[in-house]
Structure formats: C-alpha cells, structure tokens
C-alpha cells in the first residue's frame, strides 16, 4: 500500500531508543510545557511579571487586579489548554496507530464535521445558545460520526486497507459539511454564533465544563494507555498482529472508544481545533521510534505544548485583541508539519 508509512517499516532503522533517553526527553517536554504554561499565565493584553504570577498562585490577595486576572482568567484558560491539547495529541496518536495511516486526524476522519453539524443543529432547531449548552451536542456529534466511520469501515472490511477508513472519513466530512452549510446559508443568526465556535478557541471557556467532562477525558486516556501494546502489534499488519495473539476487533473498538472520549471532549470544550491531532504524533514518532506507549506519552505532552503555546502566541500577535488558538495552531503548525514531512526519510513504495 503506497500510502502507509508504518512504524513497522521504520522499526529496523529507528532502532529502539534507550529508555533512559526517552525518560529524559519526557522530562524535557514536561519542563517545556511548564515554561509555556507560565508564559500563558504571565502574557496577554495585560502582561504580569513572573514573580507576581507566582505570588498570585501561592499567596493570592483579594482585590489585587493582577492576581484576579491570573487566577480567574488565565489559570482556567491554561488548564483547559493543557487538557484539550493533551487529549487531541493522544487522540491523534491512537487514530494514526489504529488506522496505520499517517494522515489520520479527527478532522480528516470526519469527527469534527460531525460535531459541527450537531452544534449547528442544536443552535438552529433547539435554540441552544450558551457555550455550555453546546457541549453535549458537540460530544454526541463526534461520537455519532466516529461510530458511522468505524461502522462502515467494519461492514465492508476487506483485509489490509488503512486508506479506506480515511476515505470513509472524508466522505462523512463531505456529507456533514454540506448539511451544515445548508443550515448556515439559511440562518444568519446561527452563522453568527457558529463562525466563532468553529475556529476553535480557549478564550471564554468555562473551567466547570472541563471539570464536568474530566471523567471522560480520564477514561479516554486510560484506554489509550491500555491499548499501547496492541497498537504496536497492529503496526505490523493485521495478519502478523493476529499471529501475535492480538484480538484485533477488541483493540479497534477500544481505540474507537478512546477516540470518541478524547476528541469528543476536546471538541466539546474548545471547538474543532485542527492540526494538533495530526502533528503531535508525527513529532512524537520522530523522537520515540515505533513504541506506541512512548508515542502516546509524547503525543499528549507535545499536544498540550502546541495548544497552550498557540494560545499565548495568539494573544501576543494581536494585542490588545487576540487570534483564536485554533487558527494560530494551524498557521504555526503548518510550516512545522511541512518541515517534518520534508525531513522524513523518503517512504519506499
């Protein structure tokens, strides 16, 4: 299959890296995330010195405006950024692993299109107006789209055909996007709300929503970690994986559950954010080699770094306004992605 750039194929060259180095890398990534998060607390329309930020976290004074900004606005925003970014990174790693497709991502597989359709439908027909009300519809839309994609993939399964799932996802996107457009063209009010939801942003999101949805996030993360080994086996191809004693159907449906939980929650909280799910696993694989448990851990961290970093950058470029994180992540991530793809060893056919 021309399009597959499987971990299996890379395995001999990207020989197993030493665990010590990988743990060190993970620590470095964690430190980077902490640094970016701190910047997220300090920078913005009102820049706050780092010592004041630390003060605000450790020893908050009531009535201090800087402390109020840090604690009430920026901490929730950064926490949401970390959670959503990590969820998207993990989700992308699971998707790319289980479909053996390097361009699998929640956007291309139709999940965000499903979420968008559900949100637009909820705004138009049910009159749901608040961001908090939209959450469950985004979640449900993601889940339905994922089930349709996986379901059709399972009905017509014909052996080793990773590209099929991507094709099905793109077709689901086409259908859902068309329906969404019909609604948007006939209803100006819905378009007014929707166009701000659809770019994906961390501003004005409610920490309460994250808390409500956190069980889903945690469940999704645990399932992802649980299927790490199965993903390694799947990377070798269906036949070999079966030969190694893997129960492929169970692994596939577990991965579907993880994807729905992670991507559904992320999209519900922040709107459809493209690119993190595609790029984070790519970058992770460059560091870790083929072992999926490492890929998953790195993807989560890198996803969080990317999203929080994009959010900070979006606040800096357009002061005193801001550019939505979803837009920044695509504009900054695009060139990085292109550089990574160009730098990769040519894929042999």
């Amino acid at each position: 299959m021309a399009t597959i750039d499987t971990a299996a194929r890379r395995a001999p060259l990207a020989a197993r890296r030493r665990p010590a180095a990988l743990v060190g890398g993970l620590g470095a990534a964690g430190a980077l995330l902490a640094a970016v998060a701190f910047l997220g607390l300090a920078l913005g329309a009102r820049s706050i010195p780092l010592d004041v930020v630390i003060d605000a976290l450790l020893d908050p004074r009531a009535g201090d405006n800087d402390h109020l900004v840090v604690r009430e606005l920026r901490v929730p925003r950064t926490v949401i950024g970390v959670a959503v970014g990590a969820a998207l990174g993990l989700c992308g790693a699971v998707l790319q692993g289980t479909t053996r497709n390097p361009i699998a991502d929640p956007g291309l597989l139709g999940l965000t299109a499903g979420a968008s359709l559900a949100v637009v439908g909820a705004i138009t027909w049910l009159g749901v107006a608040s961001p908090a009300g939209v959450v469950w519809f985004a979640f449900a839309g993601t889940a339905v789209a994922a089930l349709v994609v996986y379901g059709i993939g399972a009905i017509g399964r014909s052996g080793d055909e990773p590209m099929r799932l991507a094709l099905i996802g793109a077709a689901v996107t086409a259908a859902a996007t068309s329906l969404t457009t019909v609604i948007l063209l006939t209803d100006l009010e819905t378009l007014e709300r929707y166009r701000f939801w659809v770019v994906g942003s961390l501003s004005g999101r409610d920490l309460g929503t994250l808390v409500t949805l956190s069980p889903f996030l945690i469940a999704g993360a645990l399932i992802s970690i649980g299927i790490g080994r199965s993903l390694d086996a799947i990377a070798l191809g269906d036949d070999l994986a079966r030969g190694l004693g893997q129960r492929l159907d169970r692994a596939r449906w577990s991965s579907a559950a993880a994807v729905i939980l992670l991507c559904g929650t992320a999209t519900a909280i922040a709107g459809p954010i493209a690119f993190v799910g595609l790029a984070a696993p790519h970058l992770a694989r460059r560091v870790t080699g083929p072992d999926h448990r490492w890929i998953l851990a790195y993807s989560a961290l890198l996803g969080a770094i990317m999203l929080v970093g994009a959010d900070v950058a979006g606040r800096l470029v357009a002061e005193p306004g801001e550019v939505e994180a979803g837009l920044v992540v695509a504009m900054l991530g695009g060139p990085v992605m292109i550089a990574v793809v160009r730098g990769a060893r040519p894929v042999r056919r």
């Binding site: 021309a2 399009t3 750039d5 390097p102 361009i103 956007g107 291309l108 059709i152 009905i155 017509g156 014909s158 055909e161 590209m163 099929r164 991507a166 094709l167 099905i168 793109a170 077709a171 689901v172 086409a174 259908a175 996007t177 068309s178 329906l179 457009t181 019909v182 948007l184 063209l185 006939t186 100006l188 378009l191 007014e192 166009r195 701000f196 659809v198 770019v199 493209a274 690119f275 595609l278 550019v323 939505e324 979803g326 837009l327 920044v328 695509a330 504009m331 991530g333 695009g334 060139p335 992605m337 292109i338 793809v341 160009r342 990769a344 040519p346 894929v347 056919r349």
Partner: protein, 348 residues
C-alpha cells in the same frame, strides 16, 4: 508450459481485458444516458414548465420568444456551465488521485481549491471586488497553492504520500486564514462569501461559458493524450518505468493539467464542494478498477447537474440553495454506500 497452454493463457488474459474494456464502455454509456436525462429534465422543469418536445423544438431554433428566453437564456447556460464544471472537477480529481495513488489526493482536500477560496474571499471581503475579478483571483489562488505544494513536496521527485501530507498541511493553513477572514467580517458579508465558497451556478452567462469551454478544449484533450502514462503511474513508479514512462515528467504534466482543470472549474463556479473528491472513487468502483478518466468526468457532470436540479426544484418552500451544498449531499452518501457494500476497493 506448452505452446498450447501459453496460447490459452494469452487468450484468457486478452478476454479479461476485453471484458474490462466492455464494462468500462457500458458504464460510460449508462452515465452518458443519465446525464442526457438530467439535462432534459433541467431544461424542461421550472416555474415555467416546458414539455420535452417543445424543448427540443426550441433548441432547434423554432421556439416562441418566451420559450427561447427561458430555455436558451436561463436554463441552457446554467446546464452548460454545470456540465463543463462537473467534467473539469471530475477529471481533475481522478488525475490527482491516480497520479498520487491516494484517494485523499483530490484538489478539495489537499488545499488547491481552499487556496482558491482564500484568494476569492480576500477579493470579496478585503478588496471589495466582484464578478470576473473574483474568478481571476480564485484561479490565481489555486495555481499559487498548487505550485507551492509541488515545490514543497519536491525532494528528488514528488512522491504521493509526501505530496498529500504537505497538501493537507497547506489546506489547514488556508482554512485558518479563511476562518480569520470570516470571523472578522460582517456576518452578512461572511454569508455571501460562504455562498461563493460552496460553489454556485447562479448567473451563468454565455461569455464565461465561452472562456471555460475554450480552456477545456485544450485541457481535456491534453488529459486524454496523457491517459496511457496516467494508467502506468497508477500502478506504481517502478511499473511505470518498466513500461517506459518517465515517472517524474509524466507526473508533473498530469498534475499541471489537473490543477488547471480544478482552477478553471473553481474560477467559473466556485469550489463546488467534493465533486473532485467523490467522482474518481465512484467511477473506479463502477468501472471496476480500470482507468476511469472518462467515467470520472461523466460522474462529475452527473453529480453537478443532478445536484443543481435538486438544489433548484426539490427542496421544499421554493428554497434555492447553491449547487455546492447538494453535491456533497448526493455524492458523499453514494460513495459511502459503495464503500460499505464493495468487497474490495479499486481506488481505496
């Protein structure tokens, strides 16, 4: 193997090939008849319904003044533009997908038509242009993005996976620019930009049809001439080389033709959503894996003209939506149905 057996094997192979070709021709004929049927319907149906025999009479130049106006000035331009644009998108998608051996490599997914949208929306919202200037901007946008992707994907040649990945990355960036422009614009302007972005056959006039037809008169023969290298490339670079095809040169030529087709179609009607994406895979599954350039063009025509018919007449309450809204709605579910029922994928 005795000579008898060898002769038998050759005979079997030849018969299989003839059967494949016959199936291709049957499919093409069936698609053509369907297109004719839809054409007849779209010339005859409408607020002022005209019976088929009167449509034919009008086309032959013997209609009343009123029939002349409705058929020749209102309905025929729309149909003609739909046919041209559908063929352009269908062929463009099929060439992209075959050359890059990847069903996701269609111009609407790798960012070529999104590039056109960015240029057009910039022209509409920021520069305040209208009409032909927007089309020119779209054409330029598609070309610029395509050249950009090609150059970025070049590394001792262009390979399918790298091209698609870089195309997807470019598409993400273009979508981000679109999102930025649309959230900063007045909501009414955003909506009119969206109408352009889904693609529409409204206001088709003979002047632009002439331009599009002229462009296709060059591009379609070019695509048909390159059909043999296209078929070889679809089998893989090594096979193509074995068949005496210079892989990189042939690929560049084919991609250039495909980009030009997509750019012409987009300039004329906007990026009619997902026609290029669904036409190839549907044609492949109907034809059965063989080369499907003509069938893909016909599927493209069928999707666009059929979708326009639906968009104009079949929605309740006299709501007329742009054709691009419906193309995704009829093309995508049909493709899904094919994917669900097919035992083995040709293009997939």
């Amino acid at each position: 193997m005795t000579t008898g057996e060898a002769a038998l094997a050759i005979d079997v192979a030849r018969r299989a090939r003839t059967a494949g070709r016959r199936r291709t021709h049957r499919v093409e004929l069936a698609l053509f008849l369907l297109v004719l049927g839809i054409a007849a319907l779209s010339l005859s149906l409408g607020a002022y319904a005209i019976p088929l025999q009167d449509v034919v009479r009008t086309l032959l130049g013997e209609g009343t003044a009123r029939e002349d106006f409705v058929v020749l000035d209102l309905r025929l331009p729309r149909l003609a533009l739909g046919v041209l644009v559908g063929a352009a998108f269908g062929m463009s998608g099929e060439i992209f997908q075959s050359v890059l051996r990847n069903p996701l490599a269609s111009p609407d997914i790798i960012g070529v038509t999104v590039g056109a949208s960015v240029a057009a929306v910039l022209a509409l919202l920021v520069l305040g242009l209208t009409g032909i200037a927007v089309s020119a901007a779209a054409f330029g946008g598609a070309l610029i993005v395509a050249v950009l992707i090609y150059l970025l994907a070049w590394r001792d040649g262009v390979s399918g996976p790298r091209f698609v990945l870089i195309g997807v990355a470019v598409a993400f960036m273009a979508h981000a620019v679109l999102g930025y422009l649309l959230t900063r614009a007045d909501v009414r302007d955003a909506q009119s930009a969206m109408v352009w972005m889904v693609g529409s056959l409204n206001g088709a006039g003979w002047d632009e049809i002439g331009v599009v037809a002229g462009a296709l008169a060059v591009l379609v023969p070019a695509a048909l001439v390159l059909r043999a290298p296209l078929r070889a490339l679809a089998l893989g670079d090594d096979t193509a080389r074995g068949l005496g095809v210079r892989a990189q040169g042939a690929r560049l030529g084919l991609i250039a033709v495909a980009v030009a087709l997509a750019a012409v179609g987009t300039a004329a009607a906007g990026p009619v959503a997902f026609v290029a994406f669904v036409a190839g895979p549907i044609a492949h599954r109907l034809v059965g894996g063989a080369s499907a350039l003509v069938a893909a063009a016909l599927v493209g025509v069928l999707v666009v003209t059929g979708a326009d018919l639906l968009a104009l007449h079949l929605l309740p309450g006299g709501v007329q939506v742009p054709v691009g809204v419906v193309t995704g709605l009829i093309g995508a579910p049909y493709l899904l149905w094919l994917l669900a029922t097919a035992g083995r994928g040709g293009a997939g």
